[in-house]
């Protein structure tokens, strides 16, 4: 049997590298998905939340009478009702606590004050109108800089006198933590002696991930069995289960959390929200299932904003543009409670990835978290924890440096890249970059886009008074959280898991600790199993999201599914294959060492006729195994990664700007991504398109803004920018492959790179259009109005 025959068999498996069609699509295209709001249980009631109209106020009274008198209303739950259960406050993933329902005061607009439980959503909404809450207004703190003023109003009275809020020492009533990394003294020294330094204040404004499906749950407590079942929009169902047990004292074996189909997550569905907790309490109290689904206004106002990082970037360099030191700091506005979604010990996430793709000898970074009277959150909106903020800073600052020295923006990157022979690379801020090969990728993009030609065209346009910008971003991400030595959530290490069972007739099921929200897990994990086990991916079922059946895992966010659970999948499959090898040897009456693996079978070395296929072995595993071996063919792997993975990308954006109106038009966006081994190219492209579109949204229009009273200015899709078909640019994708040396199949994770790298690329393009006028930075979002303001201030609209 020849090589071509092997290759043919390999193709038929539709394993790693195959653009196979998605397994999950048939149900979605026929309207047969099962999202949380589709769950309907007998006797189910609906919950709706009474929310605060004020950003900062004391609650002087709550009167439920009128609401309770309304036919169809079953209960009105307030903090007073939760107190006896100890559930009026809950711990956050960041070591702080958060009011489940406002306890005597409200700290942000739309904060949860009470929940009305009624027959259906209409009556519940009517009931909300009838709950009478009296407030006494307090002065709100909206601006994070002012939060640290000597006489700033105290937001968190519950923390007065406490010198920490779960993340180390704090030094002011509105201060949460200071997080520092790097060698400050050495960095300061380089700065004082440097030939050139640049400094820029750079904002990552408050935005919201807004997946198309909002958050919600159906909680169902079975009094007889003492069991709590919760259908929930969660990116981390196992973590939810553990938290439910810790909060409620219902034993973990009596709690079942099910994340069914999830309508997009993007970090919005990592946290545990008050609505979930109150629904569970309501179900326990009332003895019937309770559904709570937030509406879009509630989603944009309260569940998990992202960013709000007020950064200062500084670089020191020589006159040739070689960076000698980096000094970054940020003021992080966490809102009223620190419910930042993060590995517990990382208050600023992985902000120390801020040295980027560049070989920077010494660096220092510092982040201070503060409370304000705004909604809590700080989630990783389609990125690993605080990686967008970090990458934005470095990718902006290297452009600022290039402009100062009048060096081309591609050339300055060439001069600073970590070289291929430096990997694994120890960064000045503590990471070990696993692999990378930046320079050839950059050259590939520059050539594909005719970068020189674009610069020539830009020069001509500038001579004619036209505005054209070319943006580059050459970024490195850090994903796959994470090694349990670095990362845990509330003490649980951030491993992930896969359990594989091969059935007697050779089909299989893989159960995972992660949960897909559109990434196509049912398709791609099966491909890994197919290649590793030699069974067709079409015959491999993937199941996730039900804590009763799936092995424990930390969930899907921070691009951790492929790096962590994907590795668990490969290793679980390999251990099954090792057992299969012994069974094959037994069947062929040879020693296991005499066998070699060939796509989907073991064959006796030097005797291609003597073979046992995986299917044959699967059958034998249930009736004819070597003496002393257990029957069956299944295993579970809990994978604790030795390191993170470091995918990278080279992006180029060309923008034309109308100098009368400020209207921008993205002429070209070219994205080269290197995510290591590529499991399904079709899905990768789709992930990149989607991530780029979310980057476009953030860079060009998204903003959650407040007036001085803490009133949210715009919390519907009327005001909050979601790009439509019309604004969204056309995407071009490309790739190189630099496998991760420590990942079993060399894969790194991809879905967040386009968001992380896309945002600075758009910004760099917009700012580059004004570079010849001395502009070094403009804050996002680059709406037509904001761009016009720059144009107007420069007198270019004349």
């Amino acid at each position: 049997m020849g090589k071509s025959e092997s290759l043919k068999r390999q193709d038929e498996l539709k394993g790693i590298g195959c653009a196979r069609k998605r397994k999950e699509d048939p149900r979605f295209i026929q309207g047969k998905g099962l999202y949380v709001d589709d769950v309907k249980l007998p006797g189910m009631l609906a919950g709706a939340i009474v929310r605060s109209p004020y950003a900062h106020a004391r609650i002087t009274s709550i009167n439920k009478e009128k609401a309770l008198a309304m036919p169809g209303v079953h209960a009105v739950i307030t903090a007073e009702d939760l107190k006896p259960l100890g559930l009026h406050w809950m711990p956050t993933l960041a070591g702080d606590s958060q009011a489940v329902l406002a306890d005597e005061k409200v700290c942000f607009q739309e904060q949860e004050v009470a929940m009305v439980i009624a027959d259906d959503r209409y009556i519940a909404a009517d009931g909300v109108e009838l709950v009478e809450v009296e407030y006494e207004m307090l002065t709100p703190v909206v601006n994070p800089q002012q939060a640290m003023d000597e006489d700033a109003p105290i937001i968190r009275e519950d923390l007065v006198g406490k010198d920490e809020a779960g993340q180390g020492k704090r030094k002011h009533n509105n201060h949460i933590f200071t997080w520092e990394v790097g060698d400050k003294e050495a960095t300061d020294r380089v700065f004082s002696d440097a030939e050139v330094t640049v400094r820029e204040e750079i904002l990552n404004p408050r935005v919201h991930p807004s997946p198309l499906e909002t958050c919600g749950c159906v909680a169902s407590f079975d009094k007889v069995k003492g069991e709590m079942t919760v259908y929930i929009t969660s990116q981390a169902p196992h973590v939810v289960r553990t938290v439910v047990t810790l909060l409620s004292n219902i034993p973990e074996n009596k709690v079942r959390v099910i994340s069914p189909d999830i309508g997009g997550g993007f970090g919005n569905k990592v946290g545990i929200y008050p609505g979930y907790v109150v629904s569970m309490v309501a179900s326990i109290v009332l003895g019937v299932p309770v559904k709570w689904i937030e509406n879009r206004i509630e989603n944009l106002s309260t569940t998990a904003f992202a960013r709000d990082y007020h950064g200062i970037g500084e670089l020191a360099a020589d006159s040739q543009g070689r960076i000698k030191a980096l000094r970054f700091s940020a003021l992080a506005d966490h809102g009223a409670f620190n419910s930042h979604a993060q590995p517990t010990k990382w208050p600023a996430g992985f902000f120390n990835i801020c040295t980027g793709s560049y070989d920077i000898p010494v660096a220092y970074a510092r982040v201070d978290g503060v409370y304000t009277n705004k909604a809590p959150g700080g989630v990783a909106y389609r990125c690993s924890f605080r990686v967008t903020e970090a990458v934005y800073l470095i990718e902006r600052m290297i452009d600022v440096l290039a402009q100062k020295l009048n060096i081309d923006k591609a050339e300055i990157r060439r001069r600073n890249f970590i070289r291929e022979d430096q990997f694994p690379y120890q960064s000045a801020l503590g990471w070990e970059f696993d692999s990378g090969n930046y320079l050839p990728a950059l050259e590939k993009v520059l050539e594909a886009c005719d970068y020189e030609g674009l610069r020539r065209e830009q020069a001509e346009k500038r001579a004619n008074g036209e505005l054209m910008g070319i943006g580059l971003a050459t970024f490195t991400e850090i994903v796959g959280a994470g090694p349990s030595k670095n990362c845990d959530i509330l003490g649980v290490g951030m491993f992930d898991s896969c359990e594989i069972r091969v059935h007697p007739t050779g089909s299989a099921i893989a159960r995972m600790g992660t949960i897909t929200q559109g990434q196509g897990h049912a398709t791609t994990y099966a491909q890994i199993v197919a290649t590793e086990l030699g069974l067709p991916s079409e015959e491999i079922e993937v199941e996730e999201g039900d804590t009763d059946t799936a092995p424990y895992g930390l969930g899907t966010y921070g691009s951790r599914s492929t790096p962590v659970a994907g590795a668990a999948t490969a290793l679980a499959a390999r251990s099954i294959r090792a057992k299969a090898q012994k069974i094959a040897a037994h069947l062929l009456e040879v020693s296991p060492d005499d066998l070699e693996w060939d796509v989907d079978r073991f064959q006796v070395k030097g005797n291609p006729e003597a073979v046992k296929t995986m299917k044959e072995i699967a059958w034998a595993a249930y009736n004819d195994v070597p003496e002393g071996m257990e029957m069956g063919l299944e295993t579970v792997n809990y994978y604790d990664p030795p390191n993170f993975t470091f995918p990278f990308g080279i992006y180029l954006c060309v923008v034309d700007i109308d100098r009368k109106t400020g209207v921008t038009s993205i002429r070209r966006f070219y994205a080269l991504d290197d995510c290591g081994t590529r499991i399904n190219p079709m899905i990768i492209d789709g992930q990149i398109h989607g991530g780029l579109n979310e980057a476009f949204a953030v860079a060009m229009g998204q903003l959650i803004s407040f007036d001085e009273q803490g009133n949210l200015q715009g919390n519907t899709f009327m005001d909050y920018f979601i790009p439509t078909f019309m604004e969204t640019p056309h995407w071009e994708t490309d790739y190189t492959v630099t496998p991760s040396p420590h990942h079993p199949i060399g894969a790194k994770g991809v879905a967040e790179s386009p968001h992380v790298g896309g945002i600075p690329c758009f910004s760099n393009a917009i700012i580059d259009a004004f570079a010849h006028k001395g502009i070094t930075h403009i804050d996002m979002p680059h709406t037509a109005y904001n761009v016009w303001k720059t144009i107007h201030s420069l007198g270019l609209d004349k």
Partner: protein, 164 residues
């Protein structure tokens, strides 16, 4: 509130349902008629996840009252496949990876289904314009456009073959 009887055709079948005057069509479809394919993404007629076809027009069912459907012919995503065969647009969404989380997909399909009847041979710009009332957070739209283009070609080929 006294209830009103509303009768309409849903995916070819006659239905009668008792509704309150204020009930929105999307809620009646999802909660009373168990037709949960159409989704709710905003309830303010911005996202299009709730799009259904009413008497040959694409309508956001979160912004019409159920009583307005009296006597109408409704098509939802559940009614696109005929006799167990996927509509070419459904097939094309699968072939071109036109969906990820699937939450916008029913609205996209129902709108695309009508649009391809209005314009069987659309350009990319025409697709972008005609579909702009439907938001997607996952796909970046490009593969949805490809899906619609593919369906247009497939439907033309199928028509040509059946006309022969």
């Amino acid at each position: 509130m006294s209830k009103i009887q509303v009768s309409f055709k849903l995916n070819g079948k006659d239905v009668d349902v008792l509704v309150e005057p204020r009930d929105l069509l999307i809620h009646v479809l999802r909660e009373q008629l168990q037709s949960t394919g159409s989704h709710i993404g905003c309830e303010t007629s911005h996202c299009g996840a709730c799009t259904v076809d009413i008497d040959g027009e694409s309508i956001k069912s979160c912004t019409v009252l159920a009583v307005q459907a009296q006597g109408a012919e409704l098509i939802t995503v559940e009614g696109l496949a005929q006799n167990g065969e996927l509509h070419p647009l459904q097939q094309a969404f699968m072939d071109e990876h036109g969906l990820q989380c699937g939450f916008c997909t029913p609205g996209m399909l129902v709108r695309g289904y009508r649009f391809l009847q209005e314009n069987p041979d659309p350009s990319e710009d025409e697709i972008r314009y005609a579909m702009a009332g439907n938001l997607c957070r996952c796909t970046g739209y490009q593969n949805i456009i490809k899906s619609i283009q593919k369906a247009a070609v497939d439907m033309k080929t199928a028509n040509a073959t059946s006309a022969e």
